[in-house]
């Protein structure tokens, strides 16, 4: 019987394991994850879990019984310590050996190491894993707290917005002059930032953090300009780096800061697939030869595609990349692959907010970010599917029906 070994129990690894049976795979499935918790949804960690608003039965899913029913051998709390591409074997940290026919690398990202003194103090938290998010929840559950959030990316902004919406105060500290400018572009990032500050999130941008203060426990941070931000807890959300060790061990070719794959998620090594955060994949929606996307929707699609390839030899990941970010009562939904330098055209009321930002490159629609306007976003999907790019005037006009323009 063939064996598929999946390394990594995140969104992509879980999707691969669960999809294999759904598409008729008859072989053995082994899912190895280095956390002791069964696979869970990661997006809620920085949104609902830290403020105690998540139903953990819905976050940790599916139920363990599902893996048993599907005949998925779930090995938790173990990592792969070595692997051999020619012999098609792997050694796990519990000492066991696995011979595989297909190997799916879904190792995701590790938190970025940052040289800020004091990050090892009690009271400093990361939000990359469920146990870390639950530790934050425990602190926040005992009454209003002051948070210092280092890092103004999506995770940091989401955590700050969620905390403020639940009666805490939060100051986001971002070294770059404009938080979220890289993924959203400056004009859109400025607007999203204003919605956050309107809702009570404090933001200090363009200044680094020199040190986490506190004797036996974090009591705040000192900024590069000398200012001190007092805090009951410090959240470090300063980004993440792809975990490429296993793929490198196997000799997989790299690209775009990750592991190079084709549309079927095959790496350069026979029988080895890379999915999720680490995969540098070709996308007809991007200008680059390969892109990497660190978002759940893409990770799930990658996992599903690798499973189809393993089971049937068919299946390509050609989805339009999408992502969302819930920041308190604001939900950003992005479709397409924007670039920071794209021209922005707005539609709708930016104050409510119920609006869409269209990203144009060389006059062509390349991406759209919408808040509270799913109808427009649905129209954008139809435009992409039809290969139609309206004019900037049409995009800005709330009465112009994008779905109708897509239909021609």
């Amino acid at each position: 019987m063939p064996i598929t070994l999946i390394v990594g129990g995140g969104m992509a690894g879980r999707a691969a394991a669960l999809t294999l049976r759904r598409v008729g795979y008859q072989g053995e499935i082994i899912l190895v994850g280095d956390e002791t918790t069964p696979p869970y949804d990661r997006p809620p960690l920085s949104k609902s879990v830290i403020v105690g608003k998540a139903d953990l039965d819905k976050v940790i899913k599916p139920a363990l019984a599902t893996y048993a029913e599907d005949g998925i051998d779930l090995r938790l709390g173990v990592a792969v310590t070595s692997a051999d591409a020619a012999a098609k074997t792997a050694t796990l940290s519990d000492g066991s050996e696995v011979a595989w026919d297909a190997l799916v690398i879904a190792t995701g990202c590790a938190p970025r190491e940052v040289p800020i003194p004091g990050l090892d103090k009690p009271g400093v938290f990361r939000i990359t894993r469920l146990d870390e998010a639950l530790a934050i929840q425990e602190v926040l559950s005992s009454g209003p707290k002051r948070l210092a959030v280092i890092g103004g990316g999506f995770i940091g902004m989401e955590a700050a917005a969620a905390a403020v919406a639940h009666g805490h105060t939060a100051t986001v500290l971002e070294a770059a002059p404009e938080p979220m400018a890289r993924p959203l572009g400056l004009a859109v990032a400025e607007r999203v930032l204003r919605w956050a500050t309107d809702r009570g999130v404090e933001v200090r941008a363009g200044v680094g953090v020199d040190e986490v203060l506190g004797d036996d426990r974090a009591s705040g941070v000192r900024l590069a300009d000398g200012d001190i931000i007092d805090a009951d807890l410090v959240i470090c959300a300063i980004g993440q780096v792809p975990r490429l060790e296993l793929a490198r061990l196997l000799g997989c070719e790299e690209a775009a800061g990750g592991i190079k794959v084709d549309t079927g998620m095959h790496t350069s090594v026979d029988g080895v697939y890379a999915v999720g955060d680490i995969a540098a994949f070709p996308s007809k929606w991007a200008d680059e030869d390969r892109i990497r996307v660190e978002h759940a929707g893409v990770a799930i699609g990658h996992g599903q595609t690798a499973a189809e390839q393993i089971a049937t030899g068919e299946g390509m990941f050609e989805d339009l990349p999408t992502f969302w970010s819930d920041q308190g009562d604001i939900t950003l939904n992005m479709v397409g692959v924007p670039r920071p330098e794209d021209e922005i055209v707005w539609r709708g009321d930016q104050a409510i907010p119920a609006c869409t930002a269209f990203y144009l490159r060389d006059g062509k629609l390349r991406a759209a970010m919408s808040v509270g306007d799913m109808k427009t976003l649905r129209g954008v999907r139809k435009l992409f599917a039809a290969g139609v790019s309206p004019t900037a005037e049409q995009l800005a006009d709330p009465d112009a029906d994008l779905a109708a323009l897509a239909a021609g």
């Binding site: 929707g297 999408t322 799913m374 109808k375 649905r378």
Partner: protein, 103 residues
């Protein structure tokens, strides 16, 4: 299994997702002509009420208002991530003007 009345046909505007509750089960009801569909109101992906989403007539689906996965009213299956699980579908009987859901 019990048939629970959730209201009259006229309580459910054509093509508009409407919230209903039957024996504590939260439902998203969509009437399409004479036919009435019932699915679980809670998006399986994140905390969102599907009855606040839009009905997509072409796909016979309801789109989640938060992140845009659209759930087919007959199969319960989502069309695209972020949702990956189907939403529960309930059988509906229309008896004269009375709409009943099998819970």
């Amino acid at each position: 299994m019990a048939q629970v009345s959730i209201g009259k046909l006229s309580d459910f505007p054509d093509g508009t997702p409407t919230f209903a509750e039957a024996d504590g089960t939260r439902l998203c009801i969509v009437r399409v002509g004479d036919k009435v569909h019932a699915i679980c109101d809670d998006c399986p992906h994140a905390e969102a009420s599907l009855s606040e989403g839009d009905f997509l007539a072409d796909d016979l689906a309801v789109e989640c208002p938060l992140h845009g996965s659209a759930f087919n009213l007959e199969s319960g299956d989502p069309d695209a991530p972020p949702a990956t699980e189907a939403v529960q579908v309930f059988a509906v009987t229309v008896d004269g003007d009375d709409v009943r859901v099998e819970i």
